[in-house]
């Protein structure tokens, strides 16, 4: 093969993926490890990579403790009810108590945060969100990471983690390839922080053809956060907790600032309020504890996002769609109209393009809403990811094995989408989680836990062969046919992705089946994924760009398998509106008020599933009431 092997040795902390989680990790690692060697491996260009590449118009997680607004436990309770009870509250509390310091730093670095002129505090669009001019959010935090890291390797697709051969279940670095030069990169490192992205595009998107890239979550978020960890044998949690978003139709423009700041609201095609009428029946499914509109109104305890989706989906199915966002009132105010447009330009330009193209002026016409295809991620309003240790002063024994945010593999840490059970972290929380993981990783090294790591040449060569196999496979079989992309010996990455998306959509509860699945469908899906895994061994890449796509689809496939395993394991419909188990339509607190934990044996590929207890933050008063 015509590529070089480039080895970066003696790394202390390797950060895989430098979105908001990875930049936070690299920045903070320098403080706790001033003489340590810190290296970043990023698939794109760190200046514009990750989900925040195009910008954000809000920081969605900010407590405002200094303004007397919220305490960390308030946020934990909010995330708990939004996720129907299923969160890692130790990790959430830990993130929430540190997140404000990250945001205050952003402002000091030059991030324009809007302020409330009367109160002097940050301008809020809701209880947890503050408004920013965040077009350059990513370049700004990238500067911080670049200042801290010894080396930044851009355009490196990390495909596998390296494992230590002197001690089982300990990480020793990572390998990948440069998507421009095709060179093989080996990173030998004492500790690794995986801050890669969650998974878009594993379920068939609603857009078709050329538009397939128009998904809500970045199309370059290829599930590497999960693919890398699952392959290394790390335990995963809450992988069934995929998310479906209610968004402006086709453009997937954000609705948060519209609802919360512009005070827009939704109605059905006939101008009626529809949400509340679905709640009595839904309450029978999920219980009054989770859906009590009266109590929600009194306590400002929000109605869980998934349940609001449920109402939208059902109203459309009842033939009263489309659902409209009522913008015509708010947009009469020129200031609010400008905010509405800036909101898109700062983070989802595609929505502005769509309205300009279709002559939809929200001042004169109420735009349509829809529900998206599902996504698998750990930092937005859903908590897929690795089963990680919590902080020592908060975590109960089941959640604690020494190092904060360390996965069940020694020396392997997570941040952002990679950490399971921590929804509602968003950008600021992911950055904060990176900082927390970095401090713990430095401690892990300083405690001597990473001594004597050994990586044999064989492991490095085996991975090399595996990584470049799609290119050699292409060369071998390309000339058996005249021209074109149809070949009996291989699929190209796009064909493989299409197959994965169709399969996940139809068997895993995607948009085209109204998010419905059951044990039979899931088992068929798993069987088909297994066969697809054999075909992925024969995937063909015509060039390095296709090699990148080949590895992305492999990570997506592994993520999908884990999602189906988890969905099959949890025999209840915990999140109506995100997905439904047709064979277990009710929420079942008696058997399933637990976190689900899986582990894939790297040798056999077999999954073992278990339940882990769900711990909650409670006050003395709550405890008394419960007993």
């Amino acid at each position: 093969m015509g590529h070089k092997t480039i080895v970066e040795d003696n790394i202390d902390i390797l950060v895989c993926g430098a979105g908001l989680g990875g930049t936070g990790a690299a920045f903070e690692a320098r403080y706790w490890g001033q003489n340590k060697k810190i290296v970043i491996a990023e698939k794109a260009n760190i200046d514009r990579s990750g989900a925040v590449a195009q910008g954000l118009y809000a920081i969605n997680c900010y407590m405002g403790t200094r303004f007397g607004e919220n305490n960390p436990e308030d946020h934990v309770r909010y995330a708990r009810i939004d996720l129907m009870g299923m969160v890692r509250e130790d990790l959430l509390f830990d993130m929430a108590r540190h997140v404000d310091s990250a945001v205050h730093q952003f402002e000091e670095w030059g991030m324009p945060i809007m302020r409330d002129p009367k109160k002097g505090s940050y301008l809020r669009e809701g209880r947890w969100q503050i408004m920013i001019h965040g077009e350059s959010y990513k370049p700004l935090v990238a500067e911080a990471a670049k200042k801290s890291a010894d080396k930044v390797f851009n355009r490196i697709c990390v495909t596998h983690l390296l494992m230590d051969e002197s001690k089982p279940n300990r990480v020793a670095g990572a390998v990948g390839f440069n998507v421009r030069t095709g060179d093989y990169h080996v990173f030998k490192s004492k500790a690794v922080i995986v801050a890669a992205g969650g998974a878009s595009n594993i379920f068939k998107p609603r857009s078709v053809g050329e538009g397939a890239g128009r998904v809500w979550y970045a199309p370059w978020s290829s599930g590497s956060a999960y693919g890398l960890l699952i392959e290394a044998g790390a335990k995963m949690t809450q992988m069934e907790n995929r998310i479906v978003l209610a968004r402006f139709k086709d453009g997937y423009g954000p609705v948060g600032a519209y609802f919360l700041h512009l005070h827009t609201y939704t109605q059905n095609a006939y101008g009626e309020e529809y949400e509340s009428k679905w709640f009595p029946e839904l309450q029978k499914m999920v219980g009054k504890e989770y859906l009590d509109p009266e109590a929600s109104h009194r306590t400002h305890r929000p109605i869980p996002t998934c349940l609001r989706n449920h109402a939208l989906i059902n109203e459309v199915n009842a033939g009263r769609g489309p659902i409209h966002m009522v913008t015509m009132e708010a947009f009469q105010d020129p200031h609010l109209e400008e905010i509405g447009w800036h909101n898109f330009l700062g983070m989802t330009v595609g929505q502005a393009v769509l309205w300009a193209a279709t002559d939809v002026d929200p001042k004169n016409e109420n735009p349509e809403l829809t529900t998206s295809e599902p996504y698998v991620m750990g930092s937005h309003a859903t908590g897929c990811g690795a089963w990680c240790s919590g902080p020592e002063d908060v975590s109960p024994p089941e959640y604690f094995w020494g190092y904060n945010r360390m996965t069940s593999v020694e020396g392997l840490f997570g941040a952002g989408d990679a950490v399971g059970g921590t929804p509602h972290a968003f950008s600021s929380g992911s950055f904060t989680e990176g900082r927390i993981a970095a401090k713990a990783a430095c401690k892990y090294i300083d405690d001597g836990k990473a001594e004597g790591i050994r990586v044999t040449d064989k492991q490095i060569r085996d991975r090399e062969e595996e990584i470049f196999k799609p290119m050699s496979h292409y060369k071998t079989y390309r000339n058996e046919i005249t021209a074109g992309s149809v070949n009996p010996n291989y699929h190209n990455p796009r064909q493989a992705l299409d197959r994965l998306q169709k399969l996940m959509d139809e068997y895993g509860g995607g948009a085209s089946v109204n998010y419905m699945t059951n044990d039979k469908l899931l088992n068929i899906g798993l069987k088909k994924l297994k066969i697809m895994e054999e075909d992925l061994e024969k995937i063909a890449a015509a060039d390095i760009h296709e090699l990148l796509r080949a590895w992305e689809v492999k990570h997506r496939h592994r993520t999908s398998e884990c999602v189906l395993q988890h969905t099959l394991f949890r025999k209840e419909t915990r999140w109506p509106g995100y997905y439904y188990r047709g064979d277990a339509m009710k929420l079942d607190d008696e058997n399933w008020h637990v976190l689900t934990v899986s582990r894939r044996d790297p040798e056999t590929g077999e999954y073992t599933m278990e339940k882990a207890p769900c711990y909650h933050l409670v006050t003395e008063e709550e405890e008394k009431k419960a007993s």
Partner: protein
């Protein structure tokens, strides 16, 4: 397309290739100009559009739902710290100019070099503190939040 490149404006400098998060802006080996290699993996994130020094890159809305004839153009100025947008509707009835700040301070200058700041003490290492805490969290000189300080316990079971 969604992004595409005007032949007469592109000089093949490759800045779009350098920045594209999806690795889809490439240089065509025949014309030596940039092009979008894989439109169906484009997010319309405008990173390449903003990076192009010649305004050679534009976006046409996704063919599966966006009619022709619209335009959303951008000019991002790092020195001035502002970004300017112009949105033209297909029917010509709306034409908006919008301006927003991208930074309030010169790039990078206010980000500390953590290698040079005085290092953490052992007490800080053993605590739950992160860099610059607790002063960056609170104004009241309070420490970071703990279960004890906030009157909380972790309990297994079902709590709502």
């Amino acid at each position: 397309m969604p992004t595409f490149v005007y032949m007469t404006r592109c000089d093949g400098c490759g800045q779009c290739v350098d920045i594209c998060p999806s690795d889809i802006m490439h240089i065509d080996t025949v014309t030596r100009r940039a092009y979008n290699l894989e439109p169906n993996m484009c997010w319309e994130c405008y990173s390449c559009v903003k990076a192009c020094p010649h305004y050679a890159i534009d976006v046409r809305g996704y063919a599966d739902f966006a009619p022709l004839g619209h335009s959303v153009r951008v000019d991002r100025n790092e020195e001035k710290g502002v970004i300017a947008w112009r949105i033209k509707f297909r029917n010509g009835k709306k034409d908006m100019d919008l301006l927003a700040p991208i930074t309030t301070k010169p790039w990078g200058k206010f980000i500390p070099q953590l290698r040079d700041v005085s290092g953490p003490t052992q007490a800080q290492r053993d605590s739950q503190l992160l860099y610059n805490e607790p002063k960056y969290i609170r104004l009241d000189d309070g420490d970071i939040h703990t279960l004890e300080s906030n009157g909380l316990k972790m309990k297994a079971g079902v709590y709502y």
